[in-house]
């Protein structure tokens, strides 16, 4: 087992564990913490995959902004922060469904070429050329989405003062 593989295995394990932990811990504030760890862990995986720009972005956007947003949401609705997660009625079914999905996706893996695959390394400049060049429309669209989201979100949140 090569070093990247060992690293990946570790990181993957951490990702899985943190993700599960985030969903299962009883207190929401702890959840946010676990999520933050999860995001950081993913960023590490991106670095491992030779996508440094993405890694940075993940750190900034997810581990930073999103986590803070979530924390903010938790704080504002704080009446419920420390409440126990309501008991779930469909737990076994949910597990079964999730597992089935995983199994089906897993079958797709059987087709992929097994063994080592070389990860292509792209430096951020290539990425930016692509991002603003031929695929610029994606970013344009993202901008529009943000416009809609921001204006809508502000409208929804502003309501309280009326």
């Amino acid at each position: 087992m090569s070093l990247p593989e060992i690293a990946f295995a570790l990181l993957a394990a951490v990702a899985v564990v943190t993700a599960i932990a985030a969903l299962l811990v009883r207190e929401l504030v702890h959840t946010i913490l676990w999520v933050a760890v999860f995001f950081v862990d993913l960023a590490a995986i991106y670095f491992l995959l030779e996508a440094p720009f993405l890694g940075v972005l993940q750190l900034g956007v997810y581990a930073g902004a999103v986590t803070i947003l979530l924390l903010f949401g938790v704080m504002v609705t704080r009446k419920r922060i420390f409440s126990r997660e309501a008991a779930t009625g469909i737990g076994p079914v949910a597990v079964a469904l999730a597992l089935l999905t995983v199994v089906f996706v897993g079958t797709g893996l059987g087709e992929l070429p097994q063994g080592e695959v070389t990860i292509r390394a792209y430096d951020p400049s290539t990425l930016s050329v692509n991002l603003f060049g031929p695929n610029g429309a994606w970013l344009l669209l993202l901008g529009l989405i943000m416009l809609a989201a921001v204006s809508g979100a502000i409208f929804l949140v502003r309501e309280g003062r009326e």
Binding site: A9, N130, I145
Partner: protein, 106 residues
């Protein structure tokens, strides 16, 4: 040059997807639902990044990373909108437990 087998990788991404789905199905707290969705979304992003390696050519592969970048932004935006809804809902109904927001049914 890093080399990495697809098996473990896709196992990770599908596991994350499964965890996300599981969360969406079982959690009642809106914020937890948001988190679950983010976990699943991250699985997709991971896939894009990884499959860049499988693309027939490098120029095609790079778009995988581009997509990942865009998706990260999109996911953040989505979370923002979700939180706006959480806040409004909390104000209107005094709860963010989706199990208590079941006025519309049958």
């Amino acid at each position: 040059m890093t080399t990495l087998g697809p098996t473990g990788f896709l196992a990770l991404s599908s596991a994350l997807l499964g965890i996300g789905l599981f969360g969406i199905l079982t959690r009642r707290n809106f914020v937890l639902l948001l988190i679950s969705i983010e976990i699943a979304t991250n699985a997709a992003i991971l896939n894009f990044v990884y499959f860049a390696a499988f693309a027939p050519s490098a120029p095609l592969g790079i778009s995988g990373q581009s997509i990942a970048v865009v998706l990260v932004g999109f996911a953040a935006t989505e979370v923002a909108v979700g939180l706006a809804i959480v806040l409004a809902l909390n104000r209107a109904k005094g709860t963010i437990n989706v199990a208590e927001v079941t006025e519309l049914k049958s």
